[in-house]
């Protein structure tokens, strides 16, 4: 099998695991971690295309991954701050109980 295809399949599996975690868990922290896993799967794709692409000399894939990691760090910081604020307001981080804005 083409190693690029193998890398892309691994990335698909990781994305699926992250999506399943983000959809089925009740804890807001685990939903955030599932989203982080999906971001990591995208990074895996970028590095695989850089590694097996036609022009690895121009480091576009690695630069893009660095930017994605920085944005993921910012996202995690804001998300965890939101989770702490949610816990302060309703004494729980279960997403089923966060229904104050429900119409």
């Amino acid at each position: 099998m083409n190693p690029l295809q193998l890398c892309l399949l691994i990335s698909c599996a990781l994305f699926g695991i992250g999506l399943a975690g983000a959809l089925c868990r009740s804890s807001a922290i685990l939903v955030l971690l599932g989203i982080e896993l999906m971001l990591n799967a995208a990074n895996l794709n970028l590095i695989a295309f850089w590694r097996f692409g036609p022009a690895p000399a121009c480091a576009t894939g690695v630069v893009f991954v660095l930017f994605a990691i920085a944005v993921a760090a910012a996202e995690a910081a804001v998300g965890l701050a939101l989770i702490i604020a949610l816990h302060r307001h309703q004494r729980s981080i279960r997403l089923e109980e966060a229904v104050r804005l429900k119409g």
């Binding site: 698909c12 695991i17 009740s26 971690l33 895996l44 990691i69 996202e75 701050a81």
Partner: protein
């Protein structure tokens, strides 16, 4: 060349899957550390050393610690039984079906695409000097924007998570 990739993928996927299935949030966070180190190992395998070190520093060093702090700060105080957050069977089955369908469609598309054969040049060498030239040359504007995003996000996180003394509940 393929065997290390398969080992790394097995460790990463097993760590991620176990983390998403465990009930104890602290165990989940520690399993995710395993998955993130597997991803860093994949970056090393692919020859992107700087990205691997960035992944290790940001995910293993910073995000895992922040997640553990958030888990401990938001722990239920009514006993350890509340920490075992239940997940209902119907929603779990639907989530596994949907994510399996998405991953299956993506994998089918990957397998059905005629990808170009990889160049026979071996692992590409990318020095930090080249990377720095790329970052400060053609991507300098993006680098500045990312720095701005990080600053704004961290200040916003502090503002959101900070407590005001007059709003605090009496203990």
């Amino acid at each position: 060349m393929i065997l290390p990739l398969i080992l790394i993928a097995a460790v990463t996927l097993a760590g991620a899957a176990v983390a998403m299935a465990l009930r104890n949030l602290i165990h989940s966070a520690l399993c995710l550390v395993l998955a993130w180190s597997g991803i860093a190992a994949f970056f090393l395998w692919a020859g992107a050393e700087f990205a691997a070190f960035a992944q290790a520093l940001v995910y293993l060093g910073a995000i895992s610690m922040v997640v553990l702090f958030a888990v401990l700060l938001t722990r239920q105080r009514t006993g350890p039984a509340r920490e075992a957050l239940r997940f209902p069977a119907g929603r779990s089955a639907a989530a596994v079906l949907v994510s399996g369908g998405v991953a299956g469609v993506m994998g089918w598309a990957v397998l059905g695409t005629a990808l170009p054969a990889p160049p026979a040049a071996g692992v590409p060498v990318l020095t930090v000097r080249q990377l720095g030239t790329q970052l400060m040359g053609p991507h300098a504007a993006a680098l500045l924007v990312v720095g701005l995003i990080l600053t704004v996000a961290l200040i916003g996180g502090v503002v959101i998570a900070a407590t005001e003394a007059k709003n605090q509940d009496p203990p």
